[in-house]
């Protein structure tokens, strides 16, 4: 009954609103407000329960139970946490820059939430606005979060907060470069910057861009995780728990805003990765079973559930990685960002371009059809798809080779060179443990 009500509700509300307002107002003012309200509520709820899921999943991985007392199975734990944070004392450091201190958490939260406006949760009314330059918008707005970090660190008037903020923002900026470049590979197959268009391209081809761009997906995910200061890249956060960090002087509600911004940014990265690489809200047979039979709202709701399930899987990956891997050291982190992720992303672009060029060149050669139509994405025939997937796999090995070549002599401050020979030293006496043996240096 509730499902039928949910599916019938939009039509009912539409007719009700049309009685009071003009059609233009309803379509361009009221419905967007309702959509915004729904998306913000859903995202905030998702964020709150992401904290709960993190605690439960980390507990299960560690063979324990996690929160169990607050509600049935601990489900009301986020509410208890929220209430606790609300009633904590809110103090501001003595010589802190008051207005900047106030505004920094809000910038972080807004930067994370605004991106949800262009993410396509579903086909028709499940996207608030489908901007033509969706990808660019996402990259630009999520970069604003870095500003919040720096403002928070600066305004706290604490050297440790400032240094933590600068470290954290340097890390985020380095990985944003490779994140943006990794997206370009998917764009070559999607041929549009609009996120709904990219999902449409994957839908019309019945393919996931993951298959064409495994390297791009991996680079995007790794860069996204580093963007969010999460999982193995959380040295700024972890050290800050020991020393200080950009949110050290924040307490209570303001700290919870930073916390929410971090989880919302996680949700954003998983949503964008789902849209670009995992086919967004598309799932085979859904269209045939619902829309083609006339159940339009059911189509949208089922697609919404598909999208949330895919994004949920990537979110599980976030938690899984956090509780499996030890942390990167900061120099290892920056090394990875600039010397491995960035060249890999550039190689990905070159190889994808060669792949698309090959597909376009092979079209019609000796009767081999690779491209069906370029109206929605790079419509490929099965032959074309096989060739594209082959390029994707070859890309993996090629990237492996070229990255090794680039980093041949320059890894870990030449530890490789040191590692090929180990000197034995008798530490207490400061003398060599055995008599020197004449071995020729390389």
């Amino acid at each position: 009954m509730a499902l039928i009500a949910l599916l019938a509700a939009p039509n009912f509300i539409d007719t009700l609103l049309l009685k009071f307002f003009s059609e233009q107002t309803v379509n361009y003012v009221i419905w967007p407000f309702i959509q915004v309200g729904a998306v913000v509520t859903i995202t905030a709820g998702w964020v709150a329960y992401a904290t709960y899921l993190e605690r439960k999943i980390s507990a299960f991985i560690q063979a324990r139970l996690g929160p169990m007392r607050v509600g049935p199975w601990g489900l009301l734990q986020p509410i208890a946490d929220g209430l606790k944070l609300l009633v904590k004392e809110d103090f501001i450091p003595e010589n802190a820059d008051r207005w900047v201190f106030f505004v920094a958490p809000y910038i972080a939260v807004v930067a994370a939430f605004v991106v949800m406006a262009v993410v396509p949760f579903g086909p028709d009314w499940a996207v608030i606005t489908d901007v033509n330059i969706g990808v660019l918008f996402v990259l630009a707005v999520s970069s604003v979060g870095v500003l919040a970090l720096i403002l928070a660190g600066w305004s706290s008037n604490s050297k440790y907060a400032l240094l933590g903020a600068l470290r954290s923002s340097a890390q985020m900026v380095s990985y944003e470069v490779s994140m943006g470049l990794a997206i370009i590979g998917a764009l070559m197959f999607g041929r549009t910057l609009s996120l709904s268009g990219i999902v449409g391209a994957q839908a019309s081809d019945s393919i996931w861009f993951l298959l064409y761009q495994p390297v791009g997906f991996v680079i995007f995910l790794i860069s996204g995780i580093a963007e969010n200061n999460r999982a193995p890249f959380d040295l700024p956060e972890a050290e800050s728990e020991l020393v200080a960090g950009f949110h050290t002087e924040y307490s209570g509600f303001r700290w919870s805003l930073f916390f929410m911004a971090e989880y919302a940014a996680m949700v954003v990265v998983t949503a964008v990765a789902t849209t670009l690489y995992l086919g967004g809200w598309y799932f085979p047979f859904v269209y045939r079973l619902t829309e083609a039979k006339g159940y339009h709202n059911a189509y949208v709701v089922v697609s919404l559930i598909v999208f949330l399930a895919k994004a949920g899987l990537l979110l599980y990956l976030y938690f899984w990685l956090r509780w499996t891997l030890p942390r990167f050291r900061y120099d290892q982190l920056m090394d990875l960002g600039w010397k491995w992720m960035l060249p890999a992303a550039l190689i990905n672009i070159v190889v994808s371009a060669i792949g698309v060029g090959t597909l376009q060149g092979l079209d019609g050669w000796h009767g081999m059809d690779t491209i069906r139509s370029v109206t929605s994405g790079l419509g490929l025939t099965p032959t074309g798809k096989v060739i594209a997937i082959a390029f994707g796999v070859a890309n993996l090995f090629l990237t492996a080779g070229i990255l090794s070549l680039i980093n041949w002599r320059s890894r870990d401050f030449n530890l490789k060179k040191q590692r090929s020979k180990i000197r034995l030293v008798d530490l207490p006496k400061g003398k060599p443990a055995v008599a020197p043996v004449a071995v020729s240096e390389p």
Partner: protein, 177 residues
């Protein structure tokens, strides 16, 4: 200074390093723990959850666990089994038992006799080390250490138990799950 050569990584090792094989094995391990925690309930690592949700679930203790003391009663006559022989107080290394006897008049075979019975039994659980020497010493199996381990009280005086408490035991609070 001696130079010890380290073998260079083979191609397989390099490929394993690039494709993060060890990482994937580690991820598989944590996934196995995660799924094991969700699916099975016996608490062995990798196959379940260790947590014992006290106080909803009390831990299992051994049958011969040395817990709270109890004075047993005769099941038929509902009289105490204690004969006030004071052996438990003598056996106790901590001196935490105090047996106070009294004389009562009984008629045995038509003649009035005086019989020693138990008047009051004081047991200080704060001093008790639960060695069960008193349990071993009791000739009538009256004094027994049960499996109750929740002995906390709100005051020092609450640790000193009298005969009534020892016979009836203490009530444990039940938490609904």
């Amino acid at each position: 200074m001696p130079l010890v050569p380290v073998p260079k990584p083979t191609l397989t090792q390099k490929l394993k390093r690039f494709f993060m094989v060890d990482l994937l094995k580690g991820l598989g391990l944590t996934l196995r723990f995660n799924l094991g925690a969700l699916t099975s309930s016996d608490s062995v690592a990798g196959k379940g959850i260790y947590t014992e949700q006290y106080p909803k679930v009390r831990p299992d203790v051994a049958p011969r666990f040395h817990g709270a003391p109890r004075l047993n009663m005769d099941p038929e006559t509902h009289d105490t089994l204690c004969i006030a022989c004071n052996l438990c107080a003598l056996a106790c290394p901590e001196d935490c038992i105090d047996v106070i006897p009294m004389d009562v008049e009984v008629v045995v075979a038509g003649k009035p006799r005086r019989k020693k019975v138990l008047d009051e039994f004081i047991f200080d659980t704060s001093r008790c080390m639960f060695c069960a020497l008193c349990q071993e010493a009791c000739p009538t199996y009256c004094l027994e250490l049960t499996q109750d381990f929740e002995l906390a009280t709100y005051s020092r005086a609450g640790f000193v138990w009298n005969r009534e408490m020892l016979e009836q035991g203490r009530e444990t609070v039940k938490y609904e799950s």
